[in-house]
Amino acid sequence: MATRQYTSGNLQRKSDFCVTYIPAKSGKIITTIHSKTAVLHGSKLHDICSTTLSDLHISYGRLEVTDTGGQYFVLKARIEAVVKAANPKAVAESLPEFKKHAHYKSREDRFRRSRLYLPGNQAKLMLNAGIHKPDAIILDIEDSVALAEKNTARLIVRNALRTLDFFGAERMVRINQGKTGLKDLEAVIPHNVHLILVPKVETAKQLIEVDEKIQAIRKDCGRKEPVFLMPILESASGILNSLEIAKASKNNVAIAIGLEDYTADIGVERTNQGRESLFARSQVVNAARSAGIQAIDTVFSDVNDEDALRESVREAKEIGFDGKGCIHPRQIKPIHEEFAPTEPEIEKAKKIVRAFDEAETKGLGVVSLGSKMIDPPVVKRAQNTINLAMATGLVPKNWKRK
């Protein structure tokens, strides 16, 4: 009888690896590597294979690796995936070095104007993602990853979190629904993921379940930093329960809407005008505001239509959203530019902030601008406007001195 073999990867995919493992009960481990750049990478490839197998306590069998130009952390993840496919109960991990640049922190109230979705099994797209300066990078293990690649994608995402520099972008992961999602959490929570996107949330209970699992993992791995949550509402029920969901966890920093599934759920076509989702989107904005968190709009998926993207961001901003999802780095700049405050908004905000500073220096309890009294929330909004303007380069950091 032929021995079963386990494969992770695809020979056709460039800048990746394809790994096949045939387990054995005795003998030795035989590793075969096919690489067009063996002259340059041969010794390192062998080295990575043997240390990874040894981390996973594998001493017997055959390992065949085809190199199409992927990064080493991907090779490690694919080897771990095939070994775990062969031994589903194995718990050993083979972790790449946790790089210094992967340790930075996030903040609850940071901007989340743009969040760039990247398929969790395509590391090639992750390598330079940070240089395009999105507010957040989402390593996705859910809808952009085929079922057969889920187990590998989870490990690639884990390894990417330890290895790559995202240059200050918030480090997000979108997990799967249900039990698979809980497994995803086990893989990523110990590795400085800042925020978990929870898809297709319909009830507060679903979110609480995720949150509790996260807290348990945090305790196990000794993680002190909080893990933020962003539930995505993608159905009629989710929308109708939005307030409850938004308030379900203190770790919620934003709620998002996913229109592809939502429009399917209510049985309408998704249009560019978006009349069919106006109610749902307004509901999400109101629930978010009520819970004191950010409201994040759906993904704009036509990469080639920048004008339509800009129009869609302007509309989102008008409705009250703080951010928009994107799937290509080219979309980031237009999103930031459209979310940026206008010149009159900036001037007004500057006046308010100056008036506030003045009142503070003078020790006045009440802030006033001309004959008008200004409430604290207005000051906070003005400060936000200034921050946004600074982030877009419209206002220099030292604007008060000018």
Binding site: S15, T37, V39, L40, H41, G42, S43, K44, G69, G70, Q71, Y72, K99, L127, N128, I131, H132, L164, D165, H328, P329, R330
Partner: protein, 521 residues
């Protein structure tokens, strides 16, 4: 086979042979250090006694033309590469020579392409002894593996003109594929079913070769005007059914890169050119047809429009984007070296400001100046750059010869040479400690622009000062290198080079700047 030759160290500390394919070679002396004396080469005197007074030089076939040129063993046959990967002529020429039983020819193209893979067969059967010209793809691998009988000699476009003019390479028979020609041999590339724009790379061949054969599939009545190659230099005209595949000669649309990283690099490059104060009224630049270079031209165009700046001239590789700039009043002239798309070809026919150039006007180092040094900025590629800004364009880090030099070396003499390049390709870092093959000395390379930052050559204090407060990500080259090495897991293994030479790289003045050694696989 690779050759075990006596090697000497040149001024760049690279080991080079003193004898290249049996001819004495001068080792590189340093940038601008070598000025030869003497007179130029010249073709033999000819007489109208030997040419038909009717002006009709059409002969029946390639074979007849070669026969009339007295083709024999050991001769040098040359051609231009304006048909790029759509050339249908040169394989036929060597097939014909093979049938005529001729051996040991030297092929001297201005560049070769993957469509020329059949030449391997002619090297195997002894028809071709070796190739001197850029070697890409399969031909590059063949030569890298040491299978070619002679050394590969890699020259820049300007260096090729220099070699012909200085008598270093004597062409016996020049084949000039021409999209349109008359029976007298006047010909042009700007019209006809195989239109390729211009024929500048064939100009030296037409002036200096012993025999010149024009091959066309579009014979028009005398005179073919305006002509690019003058019939008075042509011996014979051959008419074939088809000389090129138009879609492989020029593409209908030139593709801008879609890679977000390359677009990012192109945008940074345009911003740098502006921030450094180069983008001023009356300035000039050169950008070729690579995806990043095209995107750079488009970003720069937007910045020029915003600032109301107009260029005096742009050097191409012309493309529809340069044509738009010319027709939109953003430049007075395009000085075109080769035409990359159909819009470029049209513009060449229609616009008085779209000027034909040749390697003589643009690049030749042994002349009374050239256009390349007048340029305010050029944007070029590279396979490797080292921390001293030395760059390589002919080999990859694994030692394989895969690219020609083109006009690259010649362009290094512009006032600001910028290399916008990705900082890594798969797991291969582009910034290295030492280039595998030295093609361009670091003292001529001013700026490296990667997606991870801009490195300015410390020698260019003026550029460093000008861009200090620009907000651009200007970093030390070592810093970018360290970041990328960490990402891709460098250091890499080094290819194990044998002491067998398989090729040499010439500098613009004909001296030998580096050797390419066979890799022990």
């Amino acid at each position: 086979m690779g050759q075990k030759l006596k090697l000497i160290k040149n001024a760049a500390d690279r080991k080079v042979p003193a004898l290249v394919n049996g001819v004495k070679a001068i080792p590189f002396k340093g940038v601008s250090r070598y000025s030869p004396k003497g007179v130029k080469a010249a073709p033999p005197i000819r007489s109208c006694n030997d040419y038909p007074s009717s002006g009709n030089k059409v002969v029946g076939s390639l074979k007849e033309a070669l026969k009339k040129c007295g083709v024999k063993n050991g001769m040098t046959i040359s051609n231009h590469h304006h048909f790029r990967n759509g050339d249908l002529v040169m394989n036929q020429v060597f097939d014909t020579a093979a049938k005529m039983g001729v051996k040991n020819l030297r092929w001297f193209p201005s560049a070769s392409f993957p469509c020329h893979e059949p030449m391997i067969k002619h090297m195997e059967n002894g028809v071709i002894h070796h190739i001197e010209g850029s070697l890409n793809g399969p031909l590059g691998n063949y030569a890298s593996d040491g299978k070619m009988k002679g050394l590969a000699v890699l020259r820049s476009h300007g260096g090729r003109w220099q070699a012909i003019q200085d008598g270093e390479v004597h062409i016996d028979i020049a084949i000039i594929a021409a999209p349109t020609a008359d029976p007298f041999g006047n010909c042009t590339g700007d019209r006809g079913p195989s239109a390729c724009g211009l024929l500048g790379f064939g100009l030296a061949d037409s002036l200096y070769a012993d025999h010149v054969v024009v091959v066309t599939d579009n014979l028009v009545d005398f005179p073919c005007v305006p002509w690019q190659i003058q019939g008075n230099n042509v011996d014979h005209v051959v008419v074939l059914d088809k000389v090129g595949e138009p879609e492989k000669i020029v593409s209908g649309t030139t593709q801008i890169t879609k890679s977000p990283d390359r677009l990012f690099i192109a945008e940074l490059t345009a911003k740098f050119v502006k921030a450094a104060g180069i983008m001023q009224d009356g300035f000039s630049f050169q950008a070729g047809a690579g995806g990043t270079a095209l995107a750079f031209a488009i970003y720069l165009r937007e910045l020029m429009k915003e600032s109301g700046v107009k260029a005096r001239f742009i050097r191409g590789g012309s493309t529809k984007y340069l044509v738009e700039m010319l027709e939109g009043g953003l430049t007075d002239f395009i000085l075109d070296g080769q035409t990359f798309d159909l819009e470029g070809v049209r513009s060449m026919r229609e616009n008085l400001g779209h000027i034909n150039t040749s390697p003589f006007t643009s690049y030749n180092w042994h002349g009374k100046g050239n256009f390349a040094s007048i340029l305010d900025a050029v944007v070029l590629g590279a396979t490797e750059v080292d921390i001293n800004f030395n760059a390589n364009v002919v080999t990859h880090s694994d030692g394989q010869m895969l690219h020609g030099i083109g006009g690259w070396q010649n362009c290094l003499f512009s006032k600001c040479t910028i290399l916008p390049i990705p900082s890594f390709r798969n797991r291969i870092p582009i910034i290295v400690d030492e280039v595998t093959t030295l093609v361009g000395p670091g003292e001529l390379i001013d700026v490296i622009i990667t997606e991870r930052g801009i490195a300015i050559n410390p020698k260019r204090e003026d550029l460093i000062k000008a861009t200090k407060r620009s907000g651009l990500p200007i970093r030390k080259i070592e810093e970018i290198k360290e970041e990328v090495d960490d990402l891709v897991g460098a250091p890499l293994d080094k290819p194990e080079f044998t002491d067998e030479v398989v090729g040499v790289v010439k500098w613009v003045d004909g001296t030998v700047i580096d050797s390419i050694f066979k890799v022990n696989k």
